[in-house]
């Protein structure tokens, strides 16, 4: 279970570029649930994900995962519990190293790395078996540098690597956004299959309303660093893309109104 308790983060505090990326965010994710986060650009959805991944330390609040207080853990230490797939399809793999070697690195995620050879024959067969399930024909190219593969292939492999040893939490950061439509659909399909098969707990940031409606079983909408909507269970079952769009409009209109009122008051009283 992931428990995020009132975390806040302000970037460039006390400067003109000050950004309140997260403001008092609370979120609990039960084991085995698949949650999607949607929101406009700058709403803090990726920041929330990065806070859980440990890319930065929050200004306030705490994060608990699988019974550990991971608030102060550095990024590499959290990797023992967390598997990640990035938006950039090139971010999750080492380009000069072979497919098998990349998977070998992922196999030891969060474990001691010994002086034994990384790619043994049995391990190679194991990799071939699981890479075959991706249906991309990569099982014959295990010794090729991963940099020679396409973005979609690399993203599918990153997904496989992130789930090679079962993570307590899988973080997906707009992982289909930078792919061509066909690859994006393929990776989205793989995501669903793997999460359902392994019964993983997952948190996915997405910019695609369609994906948010189709893949996860809970949708969280963020705006200006706070959670403004939370569709769960039956409400999630019923929600469709136009509903989400309408909610977006409502949230944004409310804000426009707030700002114009504030402007009027300023003219009058200051």
């Amino acid at each position: 279970m992931l428990k995020v308790e009132s975390i806040s983060k302000t970037f460039h505090a006390n400067t003109v570029n000050e950004v309140r990326a997260l403001h008092d965010v609370c979120l609990t994710i039960e084991d085995g649930s698949f949650t999607g986060i949607i929101g406009t650009n700058g709403s803090g959805k990726s920041t929330l994900l990065n806070a859980v991944a440990g890319t930065f330390m929050p200004d306030a609040g705490s994060i608990h995962l699988a019974g550990h207080n991971i608030t102060g853990w550095p990024e590499y230490k959290r990797a023992s519990l967390v598997g990640r797939v990035f938006q950039d399809p090139f971010a999750g793999t080492a380009p000069d190293m072979s497919i098998a070697e990349n998977v070998a690195i992922a196999m030891k995620r969060g474990q001691h790395r010994s002086l034994q050879f990384a790619v043994t024959r049995t391990f190679r067969d194991d990799v071939a078996d699981r890479v075959r399930t991706l249906k991309m024909g990569l099982e014959d190219r295990l010794d090729n540098p991963i940099g020679t593969l396409s973005g979609g292939q690399r993203q599918a492999l990153t997904l496989l690597m992130a789930t090679w040893t079962r993570p307590k939490l899988l973080l997906l950061d707009e992982h289909t956004a930078a792919l061509d439509p066909k690859s994006a659909a393929k990776v989205a399909e793989l995501t669903k299959i793997i999460i359902e098969r392994e019964k993983l707990t997952a948190l996915m940031v997405t910019h695609s309303m369609q994906q948010a409606v189709e893949l996860p079983d809970r949708i969280i909408m963020m705006h200006r660093g706070t959670i403004v909507e939370d569709y769960q269970q039956e409400r999630k079952q019923r929600v469709r893309v136009p509903d989400l769009m309408a909610t977006f409009d409502r949230v944004q209109k409310r804000e426009l109104f707030d700002e114009s009122v504030a402007g009027m008051l300023e003219v009058q009283y200051c």
């Binding site: 590499y76 190293m97 690195i105 030891k108």
Partner: protein, 315 residues
């Protein structure tokens, strides 16, 4: 012949420098200037210990540790104190200049008529040849002493290259390579990439100091100035090696690095023989590395221009 044997021996010794720099420059991709100081550190520690009568093997081991420590400090300056990588190296290199003077007590220590690591080999060769002072190889008379140094440094270089190659394919070694290739990825896979940088630099400078130790024993002195320009020499050797064999596999590249260093020393020996002023050597090397760094992009641009012109003419 003694010129060729000399160039080969020098090349084998300095290939340890190149192998070390291969780890820092190519594996963890850190432009490490500590090299100029740590090669002298290896030489000075060994010279002092050998003169004082310690076993040369012990002296070599302490030299490696000294170099490893220097490399680790550069790594810590970079990772812990967030100093730029070039500046971290420069700081450590500058500090090492004084440290080397302290270790030696003076700027130059001669090593004449002392037991070196090739003494044992010399004994073996002497037995094999029946205590002759020179051996006949393909019609040339080669002193047994030179042959012993050549054999010893050859064995050490090949052994180290094999160990290094094997290491790079272990779990720890793949993590080290990935840390240089994609730091974001290794963090997400639970590897502290900063630790890997410190570890890699420490390993690299340990090898560089080993080269310094052997170099001092071979040339018969340790000098506080001997490290100047070594980094560029090492880089030139790596570039030649990569040009020779390509970068398709690690084992091949490591072989290439050794061959590249030897070839580089041969080229220098020939150039000096043809009357190149030794004072100009470092300028020539620097120009060579400049050309090797710029040429690929330049050639690429040229070929694109040619192709573009062709297409234009066609339309």
């Amino acid at each position: 012949m003694s010129l060729i044997i000399g160039a080969f021996t020098m090349g084998l010794i300095l290939s340890l420098l190149s192998l070390g720099m291969f780890i820092s420059f190519r594996m963890i991709r850190f432009t490490d200037i500590t090299v100029d100081g740590s090669i002298t550190l290896g030489a000075s520690i060994s010279a002092v210990m050998i003169v004082q009568g310690y076993s040369p093997w012990l002296a070599v081991s302490v030299s490696i540790l000294g170099g490893a420590l220097a490399g680790a400090i550069t790594g810590i300056l970079y990772t812990r104190f967030k100093i730029q990588e070039i500046l971290s190296g420069i700081l450590m290199m500058t500090a090492l200049y004084s440290i080397n003077l302290r270790v030696m007590g003076k700027s130059n220590i001669p090593l004449l008529d002392v037991t070196t690591i090739s003494t044992g080999m010399e004994g073996i060769l002497a037995k094999m040849t029946g205590s002759a002072s020179k051996v006949d190889i393909l019609g040339w008379q080669v002193p047994v002493g030179d042959l012993a140094v050549f054999a010893t440094s050859g064995i050490i270089a090949i052994l180290i290259a094999c160990i290094l190659c094997a290491f790079l394919f272990t779990h720890a070694g793949t993590a080290l390579r990935a840390a240089g290739s994609n730091p974001q990825m290794v963090r997400a896979q639970g590897v502290n990439n900063k630790t890997m940088i410190v570890f890699g630099l420490s390993m690299a400078n340990g090898l560089v100091a080993l080269a310094g130790s052997l170099l001092a024993q071979y040339q018969g002195f340790a000098d506080v100035q001997m490290g100047i320009g070594m980094m560029v020499w090492g880089l030139a050797s790596i570039i030649i090696g990569e040009a020779l064999v390509g970068k398709t596999s690690i084992g091949l590249t490591l072989t290439g690095v050794i061959l590249g260093t030897i070839l580089f020393r041969l080229l220098i020996a020939i150039a000096l023989r043809w009357g190149l002023n030794p004072n100009d050597l470092k300028l020539v090397t620097a120009l060579f590395v400049f050309a090797a760094l710029v040429a690929p992009a330049w050639i690429g641009k040229m070929s694109k221009k040619v192709k573009g012109g062709f297409l234009h003419a066609e339309s």
